[in-house]
């Protein structure tokens, strides 16, 4: 008897914590199929008797979710891919090419970059972006996102490349490959697992980024999902049922990706922070 209580107690506490995490999501999910604020107020916790799917239709149109969604998607993917390309070239040069002290100096520079609190750099970046005349275009986000991810990406990829045995490229050199060929044909294919991890981390970071996206773009058509959602909230503050549908739209893709790739995501995100 005491044994079962002892074994069960941690689960009770943990399930309690689980409820604290999951209940807000359920609350929003249930609210999203209720008719209006009044029916949320009358029956806050339960599933409504009749499900109102109209909120989803209205939110999709009113909140322009489709526009924001695809803006976010292409900005995040493009910026992550280019960061990985640039950072992997850098990582290849400093780990596999023989340039003695330059390798160390350049690599330490990237480590330094991990220590810089990037929020505080927002204002100078704003000026750089406006001097490049790309303010209020998607490049205003894409270029800073690419740059911002480079130190982390380069460090993780360099650590991975360093662990590859040097016999690999000795054989490749024998076969007559030059450095770019070794990079593209030998090292990149071998580094794909690490690239997937950093891609996920960079993608999530860009997908969720709010500050730059909020202040560097004014045109409504260009906005990304987080900013669009905040603006939608401010406009339809009074219609909580519709707003809940909007939240579901923006949370759902992340939850689905997380359900499929949770191990990779957890590994990547925590690795990123410890290295930082």
């Amino acid at each position: 008897m005491i044994r079962t209580v002892k074994k069960g107690l941690p689960h009770v506490v943990l399930l309690g914590y689980l409820c604290v995490i999951l209940f807000p999501f359920l609350f929003v999910l249930f609210s999203s199929v209720k008719k209006d604020n009044n029916s949320i107020a009358l029956n806050p916790f339960g599933i409504p008797q009749e499900l109102v799917w109209n909120n989803y239709v209205e939110a999709w149109v009113n909140a322009k979710i489709s526009t924001y969604f695809f803006n976010s998607l292409y900005i995040s993917i493009l910026a992550s891919v280019v960061s990985i390309l640039i950072a992997s070239m850098f990582a290849f040069a400093v780990t596999r090419m023989r340039h003695g002290k330059w390798n160390t100096i350049l690599f330490s520079l990237m480590l330094l970059g991990m220590l810089i609190p990037n929020n505080a750099l927002m204002l100078p970046i704003y000026i750089i972006v406006s001097k490049l005349h790309i303010l209020d275009t998607h490049l205003a986000l894409i270029i800073p996102y690419i740059a911002n991810a480079i130190p982390f990406t380069a460090i993780i990829l360099a650590a991975f490349m360093r662990s590859l045995p040097s016999e690999i490229e000795e054989a490749a050199v024998m076969d007559g490959l030059k450095a770019p060929g070794i990079f593209a044909k030998i090292i990149v294919p071998l580094t794909v697992p690490a690239m997937v991890t950093v891609f996920i981390v960079n993608f999530l970071g860009n997908w969720n980024e709010f500050l730059l996206a909020n202040y560097f773009l004014k045109d409504d058509e260009l906005r990304t999902l987080p900013v669009g959602m905040v603006q939608f909230r401010d406009q339809y503050q009074m219609n909580y049922a519709q707003m809940s549908a909007g939240i579901v739209y923006s949370v759902l893709p992340v939850v689905v990706i997380y359900a499929i790739l949770q191990e990779k995501i957890i590994e990547g995100v925590t690795a990123g922070s410890v290295k930082g």
Binding site: I21, F27, F90, L106, A147, S250
Partner: protein
Amino acid sequence: MNKALRNPLVFILFVIPALVLFLMFFIYPIFSSLYYSLTSWNGVSETVKYTGFDNYTKALGDERFWVSVKNNGWFILFSIFIQVPLIVFFSLLIANVKKLKGLYKTAVFMPSIMSTAVIGILWGFIYEPNIGLFNNILGLFGIEPVYWLSDERFAMLSILITNAWQWTGFYIVMVLAAILAIPSELEEAAAIDGATGFQRATRITLPLIVPIISVVIMLSIAGAMKAADIVIVMTKGGPAGSTEVMATYMIKYAITNFKYGYGNTIAVLIFVFTLVVTVLYQLLFARRSERIEY
């Protein structure tokens, strides 16, 4: 063999793109911030007027600035004294259960991969005075509605709770990984010596995870100094500026009010304060937590 990998031209071409972006978006901004922090530039005009340390004296003499510093302080204190104990407690619990370990880990981690903006919106709804979740629950006990985000007494606390809700699970997973990396012989030996589960947790596991707890605290400090989007989304710094943090104070002046020079002064101060807090923490507490080898 070495010739192919010693080609300096290829080396330069490979490092240049990363280097240029790095210098442009990390190194140059630091010096640019330092420079403009000494001017009264508005961000647009052709002429830049040098004003010495005027901005600094102004910032350090501004009561509102200190309110924002204090709020960053609340973020740090809340994470160290409320979140860290919870993180350790829950990680120990998850590490010691046999079933459902994976489920707990996956579920508690989930909020940390979501957009802070969307989390802010979601929690804004939960705090809504009339139909929100919190007041509904309190209503069951007959407690009058609380205006969580528009009452100065509760606004900051509400933000801190939301922030903790989002990030606690993230740190739990980090600490959990450290606990699971401890060789099981240590626990087994203690169990043979007759240590209870509680004793094993406090005498064996806890001392061994001190280094990772130290990392968690460092990350919390860094996160606390950067906090901005959650405040912007939930309260916009209000009511009456009571939830302003340094980063939102900086944005308010530099971008909304065109006081670019002054904004950069705040950016430099954020840098300096982050450095001071980190160094203080390292000197006072982190010395003992050197690396543990098994």
